[in-house]
């Protein structure tokens, strides 16, 4: 078995727009890239039984999630000719209107970046042990369910 460093994807709290632009900037030296595809998850202030969601509190089984993400990353790199892929998922409290997920794929031509980005988002939501607790304005909560 080869030694392999597993990449972290978790960040504490919301993902700042500045973090996203810095991440984009770093790719300007990679002049073999022709297209970037980005997906951002944003916390919705859903109304449920008359109460508004004010934040989502994320927890994860981190070790397992990172191992799963590593498998997804390898599969997606094997399937698509990507230049790079970056994934960031919030843990802890993310308020309505803030960004909780940032998936970023790049390739020479647009199609692989676009397809890979969507696939990573779908697989991440289905396969990573992460849970969102929707916290209402009055302090009560319910557990989020992915569609």
């Amino acid at each position: 078995m080869s030694e392999k460093k597993i990449k972290n994807i978790f960040v504490e709290g919301p993902i700042a727009p500045d973090f996203i632009s810095t991440s984009i900037s770093k790719h300007s030296t990679k002049t073999n890239i022709g297209g970037h595809s980005i997906f951002l998850g944003q916390v919705r202030a859903d109304e449920i039984d008359g109460k508004l969601v004010s934040a989502i509190d994320y927890t994860a089984f981190e070790d397992v999630a990172l191992k799963q993400m590593d498998e997804i990353r390898e599969a997606v790199f094997a399937k698509y000719p990507l230049t790079c892929m970056h994934v960031y998922q919030s843990l802890g409290l993310v308020k309505a209107g803030e960004i909780c997920l940032f998936v970023f794929t790049s390739s020479a031509h647009r199609k692989p970046a676009i397809d890979a980005c969507e696939e990573v988002v779908e697989r991440l939501k289905a396969e990573l042990p992460i849970w969102g607790k929707e916290v209402f304005e009055d302090g009560t909560h319910q557990w989020k369910e992915n569609k």
């Binding site: 089984f61 397992v64 991440l124 042990p129 969102g132 607790k133 557990w143």
Partner: protein, 77 residues
Amino acid sequence: MEIELISFGRISEFIPNQKIQINGIETTSGLQNYLEKTFPQLAGMKYKLALNKNLVQQESEIRNGDSIAIMPPFSGG
């Protein structure tokens, strides 16, 4: 033997993390029966197990000192 239970999401609200003594249970499906009897709320729910940080995809043997995670449907992203 002693195993460690770790729980997540809504399951963590009625199964706190704990060490439990189990006897005569040797597999993940045996443990599942035990858990659903001990924690009746679990019986009606969808959940997955992880054994020593590996998702349980098929019947697996449980040994003394193992850690078992009980995980409701994922809702990340």
